[in-house]
């Protein structure tokens, strides 16, 4: 049930890679660090108890998702945040949430109605049973 994405009118396919990249806490922390400015692999590895190759793996995922870009400088290859895919993911998620919340609020109201209806039916049946008992 993802019709709200269609409603939202967004092309969602490339967001798969974005969301997959964001699913990892280390990668989110790396992005949060890059908000403050460019950084080299060594600088990014520092706050984590991780080797540079391990960090490099995460960076590759982020790069593939278009969330970061790497500088040309062969030695340092600084990482830079690319805001567009994140902005798109954010926008999409917000619309997704909004749309479903609207649906679910209607469902809340409907369920209250169904519960009240159920109670009425139950008490009606109880009354009917009583009547049957009286007749007997």
């Amino acid at each position: 049930m993802s019709y709200e994405m269609q409603f939202a009118g967004l092309q969602g396919q490339h967001l798969d890679a974005t969301f997959a990249a964001l699913a990892d806490p280390t990668r989110r922390a790396i992005l949060a660090r890059l908000v403050t400015g460019e950084a080299s692999v060594a600088e990014l590895a520092e706050p984590f108890a991780m080797s540079q190759p391990a960090i490099s793996k995460h960076l590759k995922v982020l790069e593939r998702a278009g969330l970061i870009s790497r500088g040309r400088d062969a030695q340092r290859r600084p990482c830079k945040l690319e805001a567009l895919p994140l902005a798109e993911a954010n926008e999409w998620l917000e619309r997704y949430r909004e749309c479903w919340e609207q649906n679910f609020q209607r469902l809340d109201a409907l369920l209250e109605e169904m519960k009240a209806e159920g109670e009425r039916t139950t008490s009606l049946k109880t009354r009917q049973k009583r009547r049957v008992h009286k007749r007997q």
């Binding site: 049930m1 993802s2 019709y3 709200e4 994405m5 269609q6 409603f7 967004l10 092309q11 969602g12 396919q13 490339h14 798969d16 890679a17 969301f19 997959a20 990249a21 964001l22 699913a23 990892d24 806490p25 989110r28 992005l31 949060a32 908000v35 945040l81 805001a83 567009l84 994140l86 902005a87 798109e88 993911a89 954010n90 926008e91 998620l93 997704y96 949430r97 909004e98 749309c99 479903w100 919340e101 609207q102 649906n103 679910f104 609020q105 209607r106 469902l107 809340d108 409907l110 369920l111 209250e112 169904m114 519960k115 159920g118």
Partner: protein, 165 residues
């Protein structure tokens, strides 16, 4: 009316393998929630989408291998439709369906699993959408979203705060 604090709070999480996971609690027994999810006359009343849309067609053949068909219409005349097949049905507990839109906006379709768990009269519904994204991963279209270009780092930070795990 007794409402627990958690009721009414929609949680959405995204993860690579599973696509999108959405969790919501409802202040009703799961039998009623299941009915509301599978009976056309009930489903039509809530699955309308954003303001301006109404659900015009809702046909459900609730059996394994059975199909369903949904159509919506906007006030401005725009229409939209989708459908799929029921793969698994455990009454009041679990539904697995395939879904495909008439005007496909992503390659292939998706499989949606909905589970219902009841505790103290509150039903937790978890919906997982997994996209058939083989082609998607090749990264076809990139939406030309002007608003996205203008995005500020504030929004970025908000997003990073979202619990994706």
């Amino acid at each position: 009316m007794t409402m627990t604090k958690e009721v009414g709070k929609l949680k959405i999480a995204a993860s690579g393998d599973r696509g999108i996971v959405m969790t919501r609690e409802f202040n009703a027994p799961r039998k009623l929630v299941f009915d509301a999810w599978t009976k056309p006359e009930l489903l039509k009343r809530w699955l309308a989408g954003p303001v301006g849309w109404t659900m015009t067609v809702c046909v459900i053949n609730l059996e394994i291998g059975g199909s369903y068909r949904y159509e919506w219409k906007h006030e401005n005349g725009q229409e939209m439709g989708m459908g799929g097949i029921y793969r698994e049905i455990v009454p009041n507990e679990r539904l697995v369906v395939t879904e495909e839109f008439d005007a496909a906006w992503y390659p292939g379709g998706a499989v949606t699993t909905t589970t219902l768990a009841e505790k103290n009269g509150v039903t937790t519904v978890e919906t997982t959408v997994v996209y058939d994204s083989t082609e998607a991963r090749d990264g076809v279209l990139r939406s030309p979203m002007e608003t996205g270009v203008a995005a500020s780092y504030d929004r970025l930070e908000k997003l990073l705060d979202t619990n994706f795990a």
